[in-house]
């Protein structure tokens, strides 16, 4: 009974919902054009997790380009300076599977050192340094600002006289990390009591 009223009801409901759909669709379209972001916020987040050594070992010219490539679907495991920790952080962020590192992990942070007596002042390393951490001028000795060097190795190849060494970075005592030997939770009687001093 009352099928005509039902039909009107159904039609009006469909019309209202379609209208709402078109209206909100248009609104969303306008808003997405109006407030469009030039940069991708996800790229920013990925970039923040990378170690910023700008070493190019991933095959991209710097950390930012690699972050963009990861966002496009490139593998997560191309960053040796970041190591496993960075891969896991990236996998967590992007919800992807963590893969083993592609390349050799770096055991310690290094710093470039120019053997100044052998430097011929060619400025090639200055041009190669991604963070402007080498000072010097043509035909004058160059040197590395230790605090600014990221240990990226990029200055080694251009040097025509091989006078640059990568040395282990000296960490200040204030950054000392305690070494905590964690007893494995096995049988209590297996453990040796700690021995004293003096």
């Amino acid at each position: 009974m009352n099928s005509s009223i039902d039909l009107i009801g159904v039609l009006s409901a469909v019309a209202v919902l379609t209208g709402l759909g078109i209206g909100f669709g248009a609104l969303l379209g306008v808003v997405s054009e109006r407030f469009k972001r030039e940069d991708n916020p996800l790229v920013e987040q990925i970039d923040a997790l990378l170690p910023q050594t700008q070493c190019g070992q991933c095959g991209y010219p710097g950390c930012r380009p690699y972050a963009e490539a990861i966002n496009q679907g490139d593998a997560l495991n191309k960053c040796p300076p970041g190591g496993e920790a960075t891969i896991h952080a990236l996998a967590d962020l992007l919800g992807r599977e963590a893969e083993p590192l592609d390349g050799e992990a770096q055991s310690e942070t290094k710093v470039a050192f120019i053997r100044e007596a052998e430097c011929i002042g060619c400025t090639k390393c200055i041009q190669a340094c991604p963070v402007d951490a080498i000072i010097g001028a043509a035909k004058l000795m160059h040197t590395v600002i230790e605090d600014e060097c990221t240990g990226c190795d990029l200055c080694l190849d251009p040097c025509p006289v091989d006078c640059i060494d990568m040395l282990p970075r000296s960490a200040p005592l204030t950054q000392w990390q305690p070494v905590v030997a964690r007893a494995s939770n096995m049988i209590a009687s297996d453990r040796q009591p700690a021995s004293g001093v003096a």
Binding site: Q52, C63, V131, W176, V180, N185, A188, A194, V197, A198
Partner: protein, 551 residues
């Protein structure tokens, strides 16, 4: 009145103060050789200003303040500097004990700057344990209004009796030192917080109170409970003020000083005597003459303990500081520093090795004794799992490492060890993150500079071409469509980012003038470089555009 307020948690460990507070305070024999580490305070290590072979007197400056938070270091015996290394200075004594003092200063009439400078050049640091440079602490009035000075004589840790003996012997002088700080910081009242297990010190203070002028002093005896000597806990107990998480007592208008520090301040100002000695409690079952000694800084711990009758056969370990928060010394050949308040030469029976650790049973005992009202067991789980974001959400950095949780733990879990490890790991991560951020800014600045240089080169080339008025075939490479609109947008964006960087820099500089602005300045420079490049490109494109339209 004051003891009506209370902080949460706390424990009642055996006090064992009787062993060291029975004998009088005496001078330790003059050492023949001292080793003075360059870092005996929080902040930057001092920079040596003597070299091997130099003759020094007691009180000669041997290392100067380096950077903002740092402290000067003085020779503690007279003699010859025998070695200056990267971390310490060694002096061979001549046995003469020749002093070199600064002129006496009358703090009642001297101006603030002179007294502050005296504290600075005397190398005074907080002797309670943290070693924060006193002149920096006194300059807190530049940022905050201070209404109360708290003298922290609670000395809640077992074994330690340094403050007790200091007050018994020099209550008047400690109060005079407090008046100096009170004058420097413009405080309205001084409150002494002392636990009721030090009756002699309380009597001495009561005798000294009427003479203390001009700021009124109030003596507040509180019940004995560990850790009432924690800065925040004592402020809560005495004044019923909560110091909010992540803030300092100065933010709520309170300054806290240790009696030993106040005594050192008076000696520096009144007698011109820099910090070259301090009182150290020597205690523990392995020595037969326990007590408190005036010890020259840099004296070897082994020498000191041997003079107190050390029985090396019985010795199990030496703990520097109290049994709750102190650290075991890995070797006895280490010097007494500005921060050594107590040395416990313990036998094996006294401090037996900790029983084997068992898993956490979630009994909640640790939570009920935590004086900061944290959740120690949650922190324990997260610290072991290295869940750093959760650790920070559960306020790991509010932990004062008092050790109450480890003390009551029925599973014998070394909770504080976990927290310390997690804290230092997170701190290191923060340093690394800051470094990465800095490198990123430098990289961006370099990219911007290269872009600007390229644009300049391009502009010069075009200018040359225009001058030579060559036919159109040279201009052929530039015949690709000029995107004027895109360049205009890029230029506007660059302009906006310069403005934004300027604004951020100005805001941060206003909020916290002490903070390092290097990175923000770098960001501004990057934005400026980008703007320059955009301007050049735009100008160039406009020129090209006009030349194309009117050939």
């Amino acid at each position: 009145m004051a003891s009506a307020f209370d902080f949460p948690g706390g424990i009642y460990p055996p006090e064992r103060k009787q062993r060291s507070n029975q004998s009088a305070l005496i001078e330790a024999p003059l050492p023949s050789r001292v080793t003075l580490p360059l870092q005996q305070h929080s902040g930057q290590p001092a920079r040596p200003c003597v070299s091997a072979g130099d003759a020094v007197n007691v009180g000669s400056v041997i290392a100067k303040r380096e950077g903002m938070i740092s402290s000067a270091l003085h020779a503690s015996i007279s003699g010859t500097v025998s070695e200056v290394s990267a971390t310490q200075i060694t002096i061979q004594g001549d046995g003469q004990d020749t002093w070199q003092r600064l002129p006496s200063l009358d703090w009642r009439v001297a101006d603030t700057a002179a007294v502050l400078e005296r504290l600075n050049e005397s190398g005074i640091v907080g002797l309670g344990g943290a070693g924060f440079p006193t002149h920096i602490k006194a300059r807190v009035v530049e940022q905050h209004a201070i209404h109360t000075l708290v003298i922290n004589a609670a000395e809640c840790e077992p074994y330690i009796t340094v403050d007790d003996l200091t007050l018994r012997h020099s209550a008047n002088e400690v109060l005079e030192g407090a008046q100096i700080i009170a004058k420097l910081c413009g405080v309205q009242q001084i409150v002494i917080g002392i636990e009721d297990n030090k009756p002699e010190a309380i009597t001495a203070l009561q005798h000294a109170l009427p003479d203390s002028q001009p700021v009124p002093v109030e003596l507040s005896v509180i019940s004995t409970r560990y850790p009432s000597g924690g800065e925040r806990q004592l402020i809560k107990k005495l004044l019923d003020i909560n110091v909010p998480s992540g803030e300092l007592p100065a933010d709520v208008g309170v300054l806290c000083h240790n009696p030993g520090t106040l005594l050192a301040i008076l000696h520096a100002v009144r007698d011109g005597q820099p910090l070259v000695s301090r009182i150290v409690t020597l205690t523990g079952e392995s020595i037969n003459q326990p007590g408190n000694r005036w010890v020259r800084l840099g004296t070897s711990v082994r020498e000191l303990l041997e003079q107190a009758g050390l029985n090396i056969a019985e010795l199990h370990q030496v703990i520097q500081g109290g049994p709750m928060m102190g650290t075991p010394l890995p070797t006895l050949d280490t010097p007494v520093t500005k921060l050594t308040n107590c040395l416990i030469a313990a036998t094996r029976e006294e401090f037996p090795p900790a029983p084997a650790e068992s898993p956490c049973i979630r009994c909640g005992e640790c939570e009920s004794v935590c004086p900061v009202a944290l959740l120690p067991q949650q922190l324990h789980w997260y610290a072991r799992a290295q869940e750093d974001t959760k650790l920070e959400r559960y306020h790991l950095f509010d932990c004062i490492e008092c050790g109450a949780c480890s003390y009551v733990c029925p599973s014998h879990i070394p909770l504080v060890v976990d927290y310390r490890e997690a804290k230092s790991r997170i701190r290191l991560q923060r340093i690394e993150a800051a470094k990465a951020e800095h490198a990123k800014h430098r990289f961006e600045h370099r990219q911007a500079r290269l872009a600007r240089e390229e644009a300049e080169k391009q502009a010069r080339r075009q200018a040359r071409q225009a001058q030579q008025r060559r036919p159109a075939n040279i201009a052929a490479p530039s015949s690709e469509k000029v995107d004027l609109r895109g360049l205009r947008i890029a230029h506007a964006a660059a302009k906006a980012s310069v403005k934004k960087a300027e604004k951020t820099l100005a805001r941060v500089a206003q909020e916290d003038p002490k903070q390092s602005l290097d990175d923000l300045e770098m960001q501004l420079a990057t934005a400026q470089e980008n703007l320059k490049a955009a301007e050049l490109q735009l100008a160039q494109a406009r020129e090209q555009h006009s030349s194309e339209e009117s050939p």
